[in-house]
Subunit: 462 residues, 2 copies
């Protein structure tokens, strides 16, 4: 007789909507031969986005350094690729087949620090320099977020402020760790902006429940909202964090995906203020879209001291990294390529810039096409300056008894379009949304939009 | 003023010796220009082991499929490599840059299942076939072990039987999860063998403490002991697990590293018995030694049902995998290469077999050289049939006031040899050991051994 076992209730409770019933139904339909347009997940290369040639040329040479010495190598690889791969192999000391340092290759962490300083114009603006010893390479950005939360959540009375709607990694991780998710609700009609009242209200409610709030998570550009945070909202977050002794966890993986205006890093807005900041970045998004390589980094500023110990947060994070041995080396190498592209004037530069421009240009165009279609749909409104890879329109009119899950399921059945309903991310009570990732090829979107508009009005008319 | 925060006491408590004070001192010495022989970690390619050519040729083509179409490709790659890479790319559907299914590419899981069945001679021996839907690809083997423990440990009254000495991943993970590590002590003088009395005694002690034991971990070949488990010991484990309703977690990452006799998989010894079995394998060890690629798999047999739910353990593991999106794709591809080498008769086969033979032959010779040296050291005894990449001798004579940590630290200072002291893994009370990984080049070991023997006797004579 098969054994029956008790499972950790926190694991049982954990939800993960992005891969829930709607994509399962989509997979079923695809197996039955129906044409599916998968807009439920930010997985660019699964939807036809081609990898950046330069990255893959270097990566292939890192895996197979013998290529450097083979006849005709100069015909197959630009000279600067050969140089770059040789340099990376030499800097790594050991190539891709050995465990690296637990925090990741030092040369990559140094390149990350230089990238951050250049991006933030740190020197000119008097922002403290980024420290390679406060950078941890991770398997995607998730690894960094999970490590910080795991260290901070001591028991069920510890909470973290999480924006709702939110990326389900955060709710799933909080469920797993048994801490309290303290929701705060960005102002949708104000373009998903933040102000101190929004955060203070959430904090006040948490205190009433006896919850000690330890940190605030900000996702910028937002996931699922796709909205770009304005400078004033960021300053308010920093004020509130400073006042209440919170750490800031800044999920900035979409920092290259900004189509609606200027993006600011939290490190640059924080400047010299002594508030703990944990920033995340990843190779999965941007114009690189290398999700499968699971590369990312966590940068720490003002690491908090550990109460009662002669340690700080960097010691803790390093110990956590040690148990996992090291992040995968190809992901680490890809982080290095992300933060340091081809040299200006090198043979690879023009193709690289062309590919980058095409990918970002297409994303911007697709977002704009979809937003225009919303204007034609009765009761569909979309707020905020466009960023990330998502739009998150509010469905203000739905037939009686129909919620956003029903809407997305019907939309799938009728048009093959796979989206995620708002409830999968959480949303303000009484509202309905959906998230669409604008990744499929332009032609597929062009063909799909009229069918969606048509579906929408048929549904509304009952 | 820098913030001071409370850190999760479980994370604070977690220990990880393999990267503790001895390797830190070694790094310091290396920076000061001293020659170091790092035998503290199973990281073959960091010690000069070269990657298997076939693997890296295929991997480079997966990263850069354009190589297939370039002029002179036939001069740079054997034809079967091109075919294999093309086949893998086609089977993956999306290449290496997209998230795969959360459990990993299906074609890899199918190849893993076929590998297991062939290895176990499943059909001929009436062993149930391996099921691709019960296989989860992971980032190294650690990911699988952690997921199973995380699901099974509900609170501090849940315990797991762990062999002591043990690989510190298990103690660190149990500390992090807040469950109880229930030690059992394999019979060192009996070659690190097991019998039911050993396990029953540990279970009885746990029950007295009110601990519910949920699973038993077996590492075979052993880490740190390096010992190969005999068939009778494995049968005893299965008997005890069946009697007390335990799941078996079989860490079999060293299954190719067997120099002292025949190795048996737990799946083959389990046969048709309905006991939950979680087996782990990894690309990091064996003759492949691809630690940096962080590839591995978890195979589940007889997945337990979830108490009170219409779910089984596979549903739980799939949900856990979903939160992490997917294991890194290059690690997954490397798993496929591990379980399916070049085709018999293909152009790559002879070099592959030659490289494999050389690596395993060298490992065997190095282990044997070091074991012989122990015979010359007073009071040093090493038990068990050699497996894995480690020897774990018992230090029966030490100067008064000197423990195994002191011994290893002195050995490092005097000879540059980096080992891990037995206490880093746990050991039977009152005993002293060290673990040495026999990975450095033969010449380095040959040169080091007389200096070690000399150090040993000087230390003993005071």
């Amino acid at each position: 007789m098969t054994l029956s076992v008790r499972i950790n209730p926190r694991i049982l409770e954990m939800q993960y909507a992005v891969r829930g019933p709607i994509p399962l139904r989509a997979a079923e339909m695809a197996r039955a031969g129906r044409k599916i347009i998968p807009c439920n997940i930010g997985n660019p290369q699964a939807l036809g986005q081609r990898p950046i040639s330069y990255y893959r040329q270097v990566l292939s040479m890192l895996e197979n350094p013998a290529l450097k010495d083979q006849p005709g190598v100069a015909k197959n690889f630009p000279e600067d690729v050969i140089e770059r791969a040789s340099g990376m192999l030499e800097s790594s000391g050991i190539g891709t087949g050995a465990y690296s340092e637990s925090a990741g290759f030092r040369f990559v962490r140094e390149d990350v620090a230089r990238f951050i300083d250049a991006r933030d114009e740190a020197e000119a603006r008097g922002i403290p320099a980024s420290d390679p010893d406060a950078i941890f390479l991770t398997d995607g950005a998730s690894g960094g977020a999970v490590a910080v939360l795991e260290a901070l959540i001591c028991d069920e009375k510890d909470g973290v402020l999480i924006p709702v709607p939110q990326y389900p990694l955060y709710s799933a991780t909080m469920a797993r760790l048994g801490g309290r998710l303290v929701p705060y609700y960005p102002d949708e009609d104000g373009g998903w902006s933040l102000n101190r009242d929004i955060m203070e209200e959430a904090l006040e409610e948490a205190r009433t429940d006896g919850v000690r709030v330890r940190a605030i998570v900000v996702i910028n550009p937002g996931n699922p909202t796709g909205a770009l945070l304005d400078l004033e909202s960021m300053r308010e977050v920093i004020e509130v964090a400073g006042k209440w002794g919170l750490s800031i966890i800044a999920d900035e993986v979409y920092q290259e995906n900004t189509y609606g205006g200027e993006w600011h890093s939290f490190s640059s807005v924080l400047g010299t203020r002594d508030i703990p900041l944990f920033s995340l970045h990843s190779v999965s998004k941007g114009f690189y879209g290398e999700c499968g390589h699971r590369g990312g980094y966590l940068e720490v500023r003002n690491p908090p001291k550990v109460e009662g110990e002669d340690l700080d947060m960097l010691d803790i994070l390093l110990k956590q990294a040690s148990v996992n041995l090291c992040p995968n080396t190809m992901g680490q190498m890809m982080v290095d390529l992300m933060v340091r592209g081809p040299e200006p004037g090198s043979g690879s530069e023009s193709l690289f810039l062309e590919e980058k421009k095409k990918i970002l240009g297409d994303l911007e165009m697709k977002a704009s096409m979809i937003r225009s279609a919303f204007d034609e749909m009765e009761g569909v409104r979309c707020f905020g300056r466009t960023g990330a890879m998502y739009l998150f329109p509010r469905l203000e009119k739905l037939p009686r008894g129909c919620n956003d899950f029903d809407y997305c399921m019907e939309l799938l059945e009728e048009t093959g379009l796979v989206t995620v309903n708002g409830a999968g991310f959480g949303q303000a009570p009484g509202t309905h949304h959906l998230r669409i990732a604008f990744l499929p090829p332009v032609e597929a979107i062009k063909e799909m939009l009229p069918r969606w508009i048509d579906f929408h009005h048929r549904l509304l008319r009952g």
